[in-house]
């Protein structure tokens, strides 16, 4: 209350001052208004008073008023219009070009463009250059208008202007309009390009950048013309502004495409490297951009920088992002001539204190070794040193193991001694990726390693807790070991196959388990050929982007920012691809078409940076969709051969085979999906997240709700529960309506029937008038469970927020489907029926939903996305099953009846019924 009073009296005071007759007082007042505007306070109520000041003869005051108006012009156009008349008067005041330009800008902001025409043909260049930019602004708001008034024509006319800055701004405006319109308004021909290149010499640095940016789209007709253009652009490489240098480089590279003579080309290329290298002595931000661009250029022209390798050596004082970019470039420039000093230098970095940097250095060593054969020995020695380092950091060791596995693959017989060193360090290998690498080595060198089986067993013991990639690798490696020595590892491989196909809920793992199982049981010799097939060679995976992709980014070179930043994680992602992925390729080798698919998938994953897990099942779905029965899915990879289920008596795998058949039967029932294809559910959960019904935010604490301790008001909280994947999240929005800063947040959830428990809350101090959104990840913890009281309808979660202001208790509504298991439940049809029979008290209701009347499968996906998993169909009903996070089973029978859906629910805990009804209705009707 008090803060509001203060605020309003402050505004009153300002109003008085603004209406003062003294110019100085008015000035001070406007300054204060602008200060308030900066911190985000709404001072629009003062609009009429501020605009009044425009009548003042003082240019300084006029400019201040202008700053104010320009800020509110968009939100309060009608008010701004009032002010415009004063400015229009100014605009006609032929005497003062500065004010004319100001007036011009303000009018644009208020959509007044009649007088813009006058400005575009004004005789003062300052007014003209401002007007040129204004056309782009107007185009943004009303493109039709711009054409109608002929502004674009006028703008194109300005390209012929005698003043270079006017030309440059006209170019910038046209470029901008072309970008928005998706149409080229800068129709460049030989003549205009000549004009622009002339202007290039006379305009300021920014103008040069605009011109350089615009001529890149021009394609010269003949080689001679291209050479002439290059000749005129080359001098720009000597400019002090890095953006001019990079712009020029980009243009030179573009026009070089039209030069065929190799000798001419080489001369020009030679001149490009020095100016770019010079940028590495600039500020770190520019260095970083230069390095990103150098990396891109390397993709197209690999041998421009190889002589400058030392310039890419990291300095101790470089910021980390520069160091990492330099590592990438060093790998990129490595070739036969310079590789020795690069390896020595990279080895040096491995002693750095920054673990991230060390890891990347080790990785870089691996990449260089894979790229240039000659230094393999030197690189491996460096690596070995790191692996054997007793007190070395564990994190670096993980990377060393991953790199070692790649080197072993590239040079299969050469560095086997490395294996022994790695095995010694087994206990320290603890990251999923390095574990996968290690397990791959185990499988590959099982005969060379003592007790390889025992070593693998330690991972098999914890199979169910391992990361999916580790599991896949365990599977592959155990099969490999079995094939090499079937007597020693039969038990082990059986165990793993069982674990993979029965105990795992991951479709990838299960599938691969089945494939191996089926392959081994069908034809062991052929399996051997497939599994131990010669692998495609490992390539240096750092800088190889797909060709078309490079080209696309390349055309944006020096400009792209978002694309650059996208480029970086993408590259690491490819480099980080687990070995298991490569293994998949090996296994599918007999099927050429498959491989192609893989490749296209890889391309896609690179391009769209999507998660592997999502793409993989999708791809499989497209392949498998037409086939509904499980046998065909098992046939994956062996399509050419008849799928026999007969055991061959002589086959040592007879026992296994019997089991396979058995498990096939049970699995069919256990499989929670049917006509959606094996991966339908998974794909839906991953890609169709939009179908998950997220509740709206609800205000749980209003700014007038007093806290429980000090009865303080002023904190507004909105909240909601929702689920993302398997985790339950509490989404909170805080709004601070007090005058002070609120900090030190903490959260608690009262004991509740589901055992919901909040994770840590991270809220930065919220200053006055600010909003902050945070998401608290919740876990299920039996210690926070209230067993005595069943959940009430409607269900609220009692939550408390403690902060520097006070403690607030409130209730956040929570729909039941948020509190269901995030992963599919595995129940058989028989189990369902048994449960349905055992519970007498069922609950039925109907939901009106015309939407799903015709398409039961849509309904199915929808429910599935919201954690009701389809089990089987019965006549025209569908049965869904799920369980709450605290494992209370729930069954659902949905029977469509006209536009309604009749639903019968069945659960052992009665009080859940209204909650289920509420959630299901929400899910279906939202």
């Amino acid at each position: 209350m008090s803060s509001y009073m203060k605020k309003s009296s402050e505004l009153e005071e300002l109003k008085m001052e603004l209406n003062s007759l003294k110019i100085d007082e008015q000035k001070e007042a406007v300054k204060q208004v602008i200060a308030m505007m900066t911190i985000g306070k709404d001072v629009s109520v003062l609009f009429p008073h501020v605009t009044k000041c425009i009548m003042s003869p003082s240019i300084e005051l006029k400019k201040l008023v202008y700053l104010y108006i320009i800020n509110y012009a968009k939100s309060k156009p009608d008010l701004a219009l009032m002010a415009v008349s004063a400015f229009t008067k100014d605009a006609h005041e032929k005497s003062n070009p500065l004010i004319r330009a100001l007036a011009d800008r303000i009018k644009i902001a208020t959509y007044l463009c009649e007088s813009l025409k006058d400005c575009l043909v004004d005789d003062d260049p300052y007014v003209k250059k401002t007007a040129a930019i204004s056309v782009a602004k107007i185009y943004h708001i009303m493109p039709e208008h711009t054409k109608e008034f002929g502004f674009i024509k006028l703008l194109q006319g300005l390209l012929q202007d005698g003043n270079a800055i006017v030309v440059a701004n006209a170019v910038a405006a046209l470029f901008e309009i072309s970008r928005v319109a998706g149409k080229n308004y800068l129709k460049a021909n030989k003549e205009t390009i000549g004009k622009l290149l002339n202007a290039l010499n006379d305009t300021n640095e920014w103008g040069q950048i605009y011109i350089l940016e615009s001529i890149i789209n021009y394609n010269p007709k003949e080689q001679k013309e291209a050479e002439e253009i290059i000749e005129r652009i080359m001098p720009r490489l000597q400019h002090a502004n890095p953006a001019v240098v990079l712009g020029a480089t980009k243009n030179v590279l573009h026009f070089l495409k039209f030069v065929n003579l190799k000798s001419n080309k080489d001369v020009i290329l030679k001149k490009l490297s020095a100016p770019l290298i010079t940028l590495l002595s600039a500020e770190p931000e520019i260095q970083y951009i230069a390095l990103c661009n150098i990396l891109l250029i390397l993709q197209q022209i690999p041998n421009v920088f190889e002589k400058n390798v030392k310039m890419f050596f990291c300095r101790f004082s470089d910021p980390i992002y520069v160091k990492l970019a330099k590592l990438d470039v060093m790998v990129g420039v490595a070739d036969n001539t310079n590789v020795d000093i690069i390896i020595t230098e990279l080895h040096e970095y491995c002693n750095n204190i920054d673990q991230d940097f060390v890891r990347r250095s080790i990785k870089a060593i691996g990449q260089v070794v894979v790229k240039v054969d000659r230094v393999a020995k030197k690189g491996v020695e460096a690596l070995r040193e790191h692996i054997n380092q007793e007190h070395g950091s564990d994190s670096a060791l993980q990377e060393a193991v991953i790199v070692a596995s790649k080197i072993l693959r590239k040079y299969p017989k050469k560095f086997e001694s490395l294996v022994k060193d790695i095995v010694m360090q087994q206990e320290r290998i603890d990251e999923p990726e390095s574990k996968s690498a290690f397990i791959w080595i185990l499988g590959e060198y099982s005969k060379k390693i003592e007790n390889a089986g025992e070593k693998l067993e330690t991972y098999i013991e914890s199979f169910t807790n391992e990361n999916i990639n580790v599991c896949l690798q365990i599977l592959t490696s155990s099969v490999k070991m079995f094939i090499k020595d079937s007597d020693a590892y039969e038990d082990m491989v059986m165990n793993v196959l069982k674990l993979a196909s029965e105990a795992s809920a991951n479709p990838d793992l299960r599938d691969r388990g089945y494939i191996y199982w089926r392959m081994l049981s069908t034809d062991p010799t052929q399996t051997k050929d497939v599994v131990l097939a010669k692998r495609p060679e490992v390539e240096e995976d750092l800088t190889k982007l797909m060709d078309d992709e490079t080209r696309e980014i390349f055309s944006d070179i020096f400009i792209s920012d978002t694309k650059h930043s996208a480029l970086r994680p993408e590259r690491t992602a490819t480099a980080d691809e687990p070995d298991s992925d490569e293994e998949v390729e090996e296994e599918e080798k007999p099927k050429k078409s498959k491989k192609k698919d893989k490749k296209s998938k890889k391309k896609k994953s690179k391009k769209e940076d999507e998660k592997e897990e999502i793409i993989l099942p999708e791809e499989v779905v497209t392949e498998e969709k037409p086939k509904n029965d499980l046998d065909d899915i098992f046939g994956l990879g062996l399509e050419d051969e008849p799928v026999t289920t007969d055991a061959q008596a002589a086959d040592p795998l007879a026992g296994i085979l019997g089991d396979t058949n058995g498990s096939t039967g049970t699995d069919q029932a256990a499989s929670p999906w049917d006509d959606n294809g094996l991966f339908g559910g998974f794909g839906a959960a991953g890609s169709d997240a939009s179908m998950y019904v997220k509740p709206e935010h609800v205000e749980v604490v209003s700014s007038s709700t007093p806290g429980s301790q000090n009865k303080t008001t002023g904190l507004q909280i909105k909240g909601r529960f929702y689920r993302e994947g398997t985790s339950i999240k509490l989404d909170l929005i805080f709004y601070n309506s007090t005058a002070g800063i609120i900090s030190d947040f903490d959260i608690m959830i009262n004991k509740n029937p589901f055992g919901l428990k909040p994770g840590t809350i991270s809220v930065i101090p919220i200053s006055a008038g600010q909003t902050f959104t945070t998401v608290v990840e919740c876990s299920i913890d039996q210690s926070n469970a209230d067993m005595k009281n069943p959940p009430q309808f409607p269900y609220y979660v009692q939550t408390a927020i403690k902060c520097s202001l006070d403690i607030y208790y409130f209730q956040v509504p929570c729909l039941l489907h948020t509190l269901l298991q995030g992963t599919a439940v595995t129940v058989t049809q028989a189990q369902c029926q048994q449960m349905a029979n055992s519970i007498a008290a069922k609950h039925s209701f109907s939901v009106n939903s015309a939407r799903f009347a015709g398409s039961p499968s849509d309904l199915k996906t929808r429910l599935q996305t919201n954690s009701f998993y389809p089990i089987y169909d019965e006549a025209n009903s569908q049965i869904f099953a799920t369980s709450t996070v605290n494992n209370i089973p729930i069954l659902l029978r949905c029977t469509p009846e006209g536009e309604d859906i009749q639903i019968i629910v069945c659960t052992p805990v009665g009080p859940l019924y209204p909650l289920i009804e509420e959630a299901v209705k929400e899910v279906i009707s939202k």
Partner: protein
Amino acid sequence: MASSILFINEKGDILIFRKFRDDVSRKETMNFCNKIVATKEVKETPMVEIDGVTFMHTTVNDVTVVATTKTNCNVTMLIEFLYQLIILCKAFIGSEFNENQIRKNFVLIYELLDEVMDYGLPQILEPDVLKLYITTGKVAKKLDNIEKLKQITIQATGAIPWRSEGIRYRKNEIFIDIIENLNVLVSNKGNILRTDVVGQVVMKTKLTGMPECKFGINDKLFMRAASGDPRGTVSRGIDIDDIKFHQCVRLGRFDRDRSITFVPPDGVFQLMTYRITENINLPFKIMPIVQEYGKSRIEYSVKIKSIFDSSNFASNIIVKIPVPKNTATCKVFSTGIGKAKYEPDQSALLWRIKKLNGDSDYVLIGEVTLTQTKSDKQWDRPPIGLEFQVPMFTASGLRVRYLKVHEKNNYKPTKWIRYITKGGEYEVRI
């Protein structure tokens, strides 16, 4: 191009917020303040993307200056714009660039922002031009004379925006400073991994009228071209890898015959920067022996040798010898010259020498004892750093040959030339 420009303090509060386009909302901008600046993650990369908005930023003292955009725009330009904007603000505020000063001068900065950028496109960032028509701040001038105003706008948009007409000096003078920063990286085995010189030619001109200048240095390529023998039997002159010029220099002319011609701005400006990697004379040699004895003691013996002409001298030498963070005591047994002091906040032993004659050498011998620490981590042995100044010496051998000034008043200016070589990034690994 840029949607808005912001100045943010260390806590993530917005000091200055100027919107140029509507596509990035204030709320989206707050994301950056909250997530990046306030959480100190700012060091990640100079470009950060949050929810489709790209933030380009650089930090000076306690202020982060940010440009935002949603389009695929020219990053280099915007980052360079931010640098120049900071320089401009400094010039107008007339002091350090920090939160306090920005709060004091925010109206001035708003006015500047309005002139330097229009619709997100950089316009004019020449301090000398802007000083003519910015109305607030210390350097503000009265803008009443309409004729003068017209002249200003014509100059601002003209081919030579950096210099105004009608400048007069009673005594015409030019001061030329050749400042070379020497970057050296020496491996722990004493091999020189890389050396390069980043030099700058800074001029201070006090010249009347519109003088046309021609500047000559002992650039090998130019001397060959000038001698009319492109193959070059002339062996004098040095190889310059790359030169970057102030915008006043006619680049086309330089590209044609490598002559440096220009009409200079009035006052101090940086005419050019250059980079040289060949035939560099190192003025010093550092020979360190750093021996670790277990986890408790390290012995140092660091020798510095000056290898330039004995008639010359170097001044203000600081040898920065790194010591571990857990240093307990640091004893220096002998230095021979200067003073050595342990500076815990820099984790280094600083050996300061006021003046060192050419062709002489000294050895520092010292010992460091360490306290016990729990961590197993080895000391990462940062490199030894070296700062120095050698006047009348250029590591690259660059010399000014002439500076010709033509002006219609036909005066002969007095010229002053200074050379100095400084230690730049000088790292000797140990």
